[in-house]
Amino acid sequence: MLILDWLLAPLQYSFMLRGLMAAVLAGILCAMVGTYVVLRGMAFFGDALAHTILPGVAAGYLLGGGAREPLFWWALGTSVAASLGIGAITRRGRIREDTAIGIVFAGMFALGIALISTVRSYAVDLSHFLFGNVLGVSWQSLGRMAIFGLGVLLVLGLFYKEFLVISFDPVLAQTLRLPVTALNNLMLILIAVTVAVAMQTVGVALMVAMLVTPAATASLLTRRLLSMMMLAAALAAISGIIGLYVSYYLGIASGAAIVLTATLFFLLAFLFAPRDGLLWKRPRA
């Protein structure tokens, strides 16, 4: 019963319980949306988007006098605006798109840090924004995460076959006369909402890991989109739980512990995946 005690002990604290629920929820959501991020090669976009919301959150933080609850809305608004803005940059422009994203993302991130640094106690608050504060999640924000998360998953399900086609073969999508631009923008908005929902769990700096790592792990183990999404979600949920226990018992920052657990799963799959594992693969001649 020692193991059971070990497992149950942290749950006597309601902040731990809420933290676990938040980590699982955000993990599942990020992993399912992240499947498309991986398949469409949007990892850099996801990373940039997460960093770009910092000034929005900072502005909300300063205007609200440090209140935490409204920050979600500030994050959501900035995130949606930034995703469509970055999406527009990547469609047309004179500068290469990764360069353009890099400029916008670093500039916005710096603006966020500058804003937060005007407050005296900024180091602690900044670290919560950057690396998450999953143990500080309230019941209210947990409910909000659930509502928005389910909304995103619902849209993902409703447009499953359309998202599949625009990701696999955009030219086919055009010859089938699908509304490609609208669907692409919808996808950007879903990623944006996901980033806002998950922000409190891992923070903006580690967000890209939540989007990309479990999905990439799943891509090594499955051969169909739906099973890739499901497996990614399961891996992310398990990473969230293990990460929080590790964080509790070893005193490691929670966001970092979750991301490290997900990374460990990736390494295991990378080495031992049944078909593609590095260990069984013959070196290419």
């Binding site: 409703l158 076959k161 073969d169 086919l172 010859t175 169909r224």
Partner: protein, 266 residues
């Protein structure tokens, strides 16, 4: 839901009139005019950068021309879901987590409409398309496990599932071994029997001569369009290819140029 505009019976399946495509300072296509009859097989031949892929994208209604007009059965291509565009194999992410049947089912999406899942009749269509191209036993494979010829036939099955009446194939024979090329050419003949109109971009002039009703010789301008014996004449070929060509007794053997990379904008 699908924007499938009506087909006017007295109009050609494809009419291209004075089409130009200009990029900043570069003219990719210049004053292209021709039309196709329903059910014919046309090879589009020309050197790299001749604008073959660009022409196909304009015909498919994916790329708007700078000038000129394309009509399919009497109306612009943008309203039609009867045009199947088969990508070059090098443009496809073969690691994508989909099976052969999944890819073929993508052809059904326009007819299915939003918020609907495939019904039994859609799966029946998908499997009969896979039978037609001889891939029924590989339906559940991940697409990266197919050979080059099988990959190409999968895309033909997808166009069949789409119920395409005009199929545009961008370099389908490139990089295939001889048996795979032959099985693909046999499949093209079968498509013709079904009344499907086929446009194929190819580098192989000998295959174009043997297996196609008409040849469209292209190098930014339309050099010639007609039956093989009229088009494959030394003067016309020199105008299209310049020096990159091996001629033997007035008959041409092959375009000695490299394969792959057309001038395509993204």
């Amino acid at each position: 839901m699908p924007p499938h505009v009506p087909h006017l019976p007295d109009q050609p399946i494809l009419n291209v009139a004075h089409v130009f495509l200009r990029y900043d300072r570069h003219t990719a296509l210049e004053d292209i005019t021709f039309h196709l009859h329903s059910g014919e097989r046309v090879a589009v031949v020309g050197p790299n950068g001749a604008g073959k892929s660009t022409l196909f994208k304009i015909v498919a209604g994916v790329l708007p021309p700078s000038e000129g007009e394309v009509t399919v059965y009497g109306s612009g291509p943008g309203g039609h879901v009867c045009i199947g565009y088969l990508p070059q194999r090098s443009q496809v992410d073969w690691r994508f987590p989909v099976t052969v049947a999944d890819v073929v089912m993508m052809g059904r999406i326009a007819k299915l409409g939003l918020f609907r899942w495939p019904r039994k009749q859609d799966w029946d269509l998908v499997f009969s398309a896979l039978e037609t191209v001889g891939l029924a036993n590989l339906a559940k494979r991940q697409i990266g496990e197919l050979s080059g010829g099988q990959q190409q036939r999968m895309f033909i099955a997808r166009a069949l599932a789409q119920e395409a009446e005009l199929m545009l194939m961008d370099e389908p024979l490139t990089g295939l071994d001889t048996p795979a090329q032959e099985s693909l050419l046999a499949l093209l003949e079968h498509l013709q029997q079904r009344g499907v109109t086929v446009m194929v971009a190819t580098h192989d002039l000998e295959q174009a001569r043997l297996h196609f009703d008409r040849i469209l010789l292209l190098n930014r301008r339309l050099i010639a369009f007609g039956p093989p014996e009229q088009v494959l004449q030394a003067d016309k070929l020199v105008r299209a290819y310049g020096g990159h060509l091996t001629l033997t007794e007035g008959h041409m053997i092959t375009d000695s140029c490299c394969e792959g990379d057309e001038y395509v904008d993204s």
